[in-house]
């Protein structure tokens, strides 16, 4: 429908003119809303989703709830792990969810980021933490750029296998290259993160750093979600040929998203390294590679909140199953199967569908986080 002039809209809705405008009054309610707020009809649907409000609400909620709820050391650890895995999974969302690139190298990027950051901050004359983290992002983005450019034409499984090959080579190299990583690929004695003279040592302190970083990453993702890039990436993902013919730079969009997502992976790796003080290849094993994939699929591939939900499930599930921990991977597998069978687009999409059904349509428009556009 075409937006009308505001003046005409006002005239149409004033009671004085009711007798003249019988036809407009009997029109649909949605049109009435448009008449009252013409801007709403013009704004692209993504702008009605209140990303920034939702992110602010999320950060405030986590900041209020998590320190109260997580009092023991182990639960603080799990909360931090959730936040940092969320960053990595958010990066993977950009790569796989938006760009549709089946990249199997997010754990490699995490490890590489961790090692880079550890190497740069090492020793007496080492650089401060933020330089290390920035370097981790830069280096992983560059590696992703090179890899992505080399296999830019590979599709689906070929891309997955090529990036898996990168991971496999990288992990062996990390174990051998003692000068860069450490003996047997173990970088030890990494300084705790330090910002503006404040040192984050305990889990309870690191929590604030991680929450802030995740908030920034969410803002970045929201900017992408609201930019034409999302639209172009989805078009390129769903039908590259048509998208290319319509003027979308398919390979460039996919490459940029791959680099951005990998940089988030590198950032997560750097945070893990500085938080734990040690970093080794075994923490980025095939299990975590499958795990990140799981987080995105369980949480939902169609929403930026999916990876956060998925990471929470991934981190929280072993705790829920504390008595029968050895069965946890069976439970993951069965859950994944159930999700694929019953909720094809993950938990976030299911929540959104449920909300659509329960919450009245008008409320949805007012910025419930999962509101459908």
């Amino acid at each position: 429908m075409t937006p009308r002039e505001p003046a005409a809209a006002q005239a149409a809705t004033t009671p004085d003119n009711a007798n003249k405008t019988d036809k407009t009054n009997t029109s649909e309610t949605s049109e009435n809303q448009v008449l009252r707020d013409p801007l709403r009809a013009v704004r692209p649907p993504d702008y009605r989703r209140h990303h920034f409000l939702a992110i602010a609400a999320f950060v405030v909620l986590v900041a209020l709830i998590a320190p109260q709820a997580a009092t023991s050391r182990s639960s603080q650890f799990l909360v931090n792990l959730w936040l940092v895995y969320s960053i990595a999974a958010l990066g993977f969302y950009l790569v796989f969810g938006l760009a549709g690139r089946f990249a199997f190298c997010q754990t490699f990027m995490m490890a590489f980021g961790g090692y880079t950051s550890a190497w740069i901050t090492r020793g007496e004359d080492g650089q401060p933490f933020w330089v290390g983290a920035a370097a981790a992002m830069l280096v992983t983005a560059l590696v992703a750029g090179v890899v992505g450019a080399l296999v830019r034409k590979a599709q689906h499984f070929y891309f997955a296998i090529a990036t898996f090959a990168v991971t496999q080579v990288g992990m062996v190299v990390f174990q051998r290259a003692d000068g860069f990583t450490g003996p047997h690929g173990q970088a030890v004695g990494i300084d705790p993160p330090q910002l503006f003279g404040y040192e984050f040592v305990k889990d309870g302190q690191v929590f604030w750093l991680f929450l802030g970083t995740l908030g920034l990453c969410l803002l970045l993702t929201a900017c992408i979600e609201r930019s034409p890039m999302r639209r172009e990436a989805l078009a390129a993902r769903d039908n590259g040929l048509v998208a290319g013919l319509s003027g979308v730079a398919v390979q460039r969009v996919q490459l940029v998203l791959f680099m951005l997502g990998s940089a988030l992976g590198g950032l997560a790796g750097s945070l893990i390294g500085h938080w734990q003080g040690v970093i080794g290849t075994e923490s980025f094993h095939i299990d975590l590679a499958i795990g990140i994939f799981l987080m995105l699929l369980l949480g939902g591939i169609t929403s930026m909140w999916g990876p956060l939900i998925g990471a929470a499930v991934f981190v929280g599930l072993p705790r829920v199953l504390s008595g029968i921990e050895e069965y946890s991977s069976i439970v993951y597998g069965l859950m994944l199967l159930a999700v694929v069978l019953l909720l094809p687009n993950g938990i976030a999409e299911a929540v959104r569908r449920f909300a659509d059904r329960v919450v009245p349509d008008r409320l949805m428009r007012k910025g419930v986080p999962f509101a459908r556009s």
């Binding site: 080399l150 296999v151 830019r152 034409k153 590979a154 599709q155 689906h156 499984f157 070929y158 891309f159 296998i161 090529a162 898996f164 090959a165 990168v166 496999q168 080579v169 062996v172 190299v173 051998r176 095939i286 499958i290 994939f293 799981l294 699929l297 050895e326 069965y327 946890s328 991977s329 069976i330 439970v331 993951y332 597998g333 069965l334 994944l336 199967l337 694929v340 069978l341 094809p344």
Partner: protein, 290 residues
């Protein structure tokens, strides 16, 4: 020279195993269009079931191995029923994710059943070696080569001469037309899953005596075999066998002489180069289902 002979023999044996693994997921891919990410874990499972039947149950080698392969076939059918049949109308990616889920379940099952300590499977032909010009070649490697060659030839015969083979080839060429011609997709899919799992089990049984059986045992083999399949052109069975031989010999020979500590990465590097140069594989994936 001795080293060269030993490495070549090792390479050929590795190539034979890779050919079995690659043919295993290729059969499935041709019949159903599914790339099975659980194949590596099926190899691991086959090796563990072999350890269980031979070492734990104390069966003699041949019945133990036969039992293992029969069990693997049943597991293949089970995977088809649970992770493939309900998803037949869904996009290919969903089915791939379901196979990944199956892989995770198999992994979890093995770790619950056998624990984390690696197991060993004794070679059915003993630990002896054949001396060729000063090089020692383990009997197990010779067994691998013989069994692998028999299995590959049998498989090629099945594909060329039997009704099942014809149906699989028809499905690979054109699924819709094949169904219209009366190919019963359901049974072909079940048979293909069973055959694929049996080949995985056989590969697991053959490789297990060369090293320790542990949880990630099959995953690396699967990836290397994928490299072989891509190298050989994803379509033709003969090409895949050739690709497997090339990858096996490259890994052993190049790895034996140049930077041996990086030998594990060579298949991955070959794979990456092939994909970078021929992004659709050596043959077009869409057209190569025959």
């Amino acid at each position: 020279m001795d080293k060269f002979i030993a490495l070549t023999a090792g390479g050929i044996a590795l190539g034979a195993v890779l050919a079995l693994v690659a043919l295993g997921f290729l059969v499935l891919y041709k019949a159903t269009g599914v790339i099975n990410f659980a194949h590596g874990d099926l190899i691991t499972l086959g090796a563990y079931i072999g350890v269980w039947t031979v070492a734990d149950l104390g069966l003699p080698t041949i019945p133990g191995y036969v039992l293992t392969i029969v069990l693997m076939g049943l597991i293949g059918v089970l995977i088809e029923r649970v992770a493939h049949a309900p998803l037949r109308k869904r996009p290919a990616m969903v089915v791939v994710i379901a196979t990944l889920a199956a892989a995770i379940v198999i992994r979890g099952f093995i770790s619950v059943w056998q624990g984390a300590t690696p197991r060993a499977l004794d070679s059915p032909v003993g630990g002896g070696v054949l001396r060729v010009g000063g090089a020692n070649i383990a009997y197990q490697r010779i067994l691998i080569l013989i069994v692998g060659a028999i299995a590959v030839i049998a498989l090629l015969m099945v594909f060329q001469r039997t009704a099942f083979g014809r149906q699989v080839r028809a499905l690979a060429a054109d699924p819709e037309t094949a169904q219209l011609m009366g190919v019963r997709t359901k049974y072909v899919a079940m048979a293909a899953f069973a055959l694929s799992a049996m080949l995985a089990g056989l590969a697991g049984l053959l490789v297990a005596p060369l090293g320790a059986v542990e949880l990630n045992f099959g995953f690396g083999l699967m990836i290397t075999a994928f490299a072989a399949a891509v190298l050989g052109g994803f379509g033709s069975l003969g090409g895949v066998v050739a690709g497997a031989m090339v990858i096996g010999i490259v890994q052993q020979l190049v790895g034996g002489y140049v930077l041996p500590e990086y030998a594990a990465t060579y298949p991955a590097i070959v794979l990456f180069i092939v994909i970078a140069l021929r992004p659709q594989g050596l043959f077009d994936l869409a057209r190569s289902r025959l």
